[in-house]
């Protein structure tokens, strides 16, 4: 379920809030904890010139420049996760054992072009 907290509207590339609720996907009977978590996602423009806070690669800087010269031929760079965090999930397996499992790269902390 995605909901927005009113922030100053910006179409620049940055994390957007996304809360994943395990009961929404019908997993509440086997996942013990957490009941959900903030996964977030990346969305937004990577316009020319790319500013420092857009965490851009050198190639992205190049691509925005080419895009500004030839918008039809070359698209803007993509807005993607550049820093993620792990989460741990406690759940029951099919044998009723309790399992604690660690998953890397489950929360988007930062986006970049």
């Amino acid at each position: 379920s995605a909901y927005n907290i009113p922030v100053t509207p910006s179409n620049l590339c940055k994390p957007r809030r996304l809360y994943i609720s395990f009961s929404d996907v019908g997993w509440e009977n086997w996942i013990i904890a957490p009941q959900g978590y903030m996964a977030n996602y990346c969305l937004g423009e990577c316009p020319f010139p790319l500013t420092a806070e857009l965490n851009s690669t050198n190639h992205a800087i190049l691509q925005t420049m080419v895009h500004s010269l030839d918008p039809e031929g070359t698209p803007q760079p993509c807005c993607v996760p550049v820093r993620l965090s792990p989460i741990s999930i406690l759940y029951y397996d099919n044998d009723d054992n309790v399992v604690l499992r660690h998953y890397e790269d489950m929360v988007v902390d930062e986006c970049g072009c």
Partner: protein, 232 residues
Amino acid sequence: FSLQESLLLKSLGLSTKPSPKIPVPVPSVLWRIFQKRKMPPASTELADGCRVEEFNVPGNIIRVLADQGHFMHSGQPQPSLCLQKRLYFNLSVLEEGERLTMAQLEIKFSHNSYHASSQGQVFELRLYQAPRLPLRGTPSPEPGRTLLVEQSFARLHKSLLFNLSGVAKDWRTHSRNLGLILEISASGRGGEAAGASGGPQSLCASIDSFLDTSLLVVSLSQQQCRASRRRR
């Protein structure tokens, strides 16, 4: 949704959606580790999610396996043998790509350790690798049981821990997990005063607080830990 769900479960390293039948209480050791991991790492360097620092072993999955064994009643009465139980932990729940890195057996008692009458009572514990049962009419393939652990303990302990990493790795490597046999017997030592009045049986009476056994298994998912290493 079912296709998306199965793809998502697969990416989480699960072959199917679990359907627990009798949800058991969450073991406190797992709850403690889970709560601790929710906190941001204390030091600036990233926590290594592919290592369980609480046990200082590689691993990103910790399971507490319930004992699926049963109590055994040997034919000949052995007065000082208080308890004989077959222990069995189903390691097939570990997925193929997982490497077992640690296994710890916990034997729990529910007794109140301040129970005066049996303070100082000493017991002897033996843990055997269960032998393979011979097919009818063929000689026993293994001479006797393999003794894994033998130690004495006083009845003050709420739980006893045993490192069975080697045994569990052997079970997985050679697919011959026949379980274990646990024996607890009253030791003549330190028990005379407590048991003088009733003999061996009363010595055993004080071990009735045996609660249960469980196996904590740490494993490393090659698929999930290798991928993150490459990116890093």
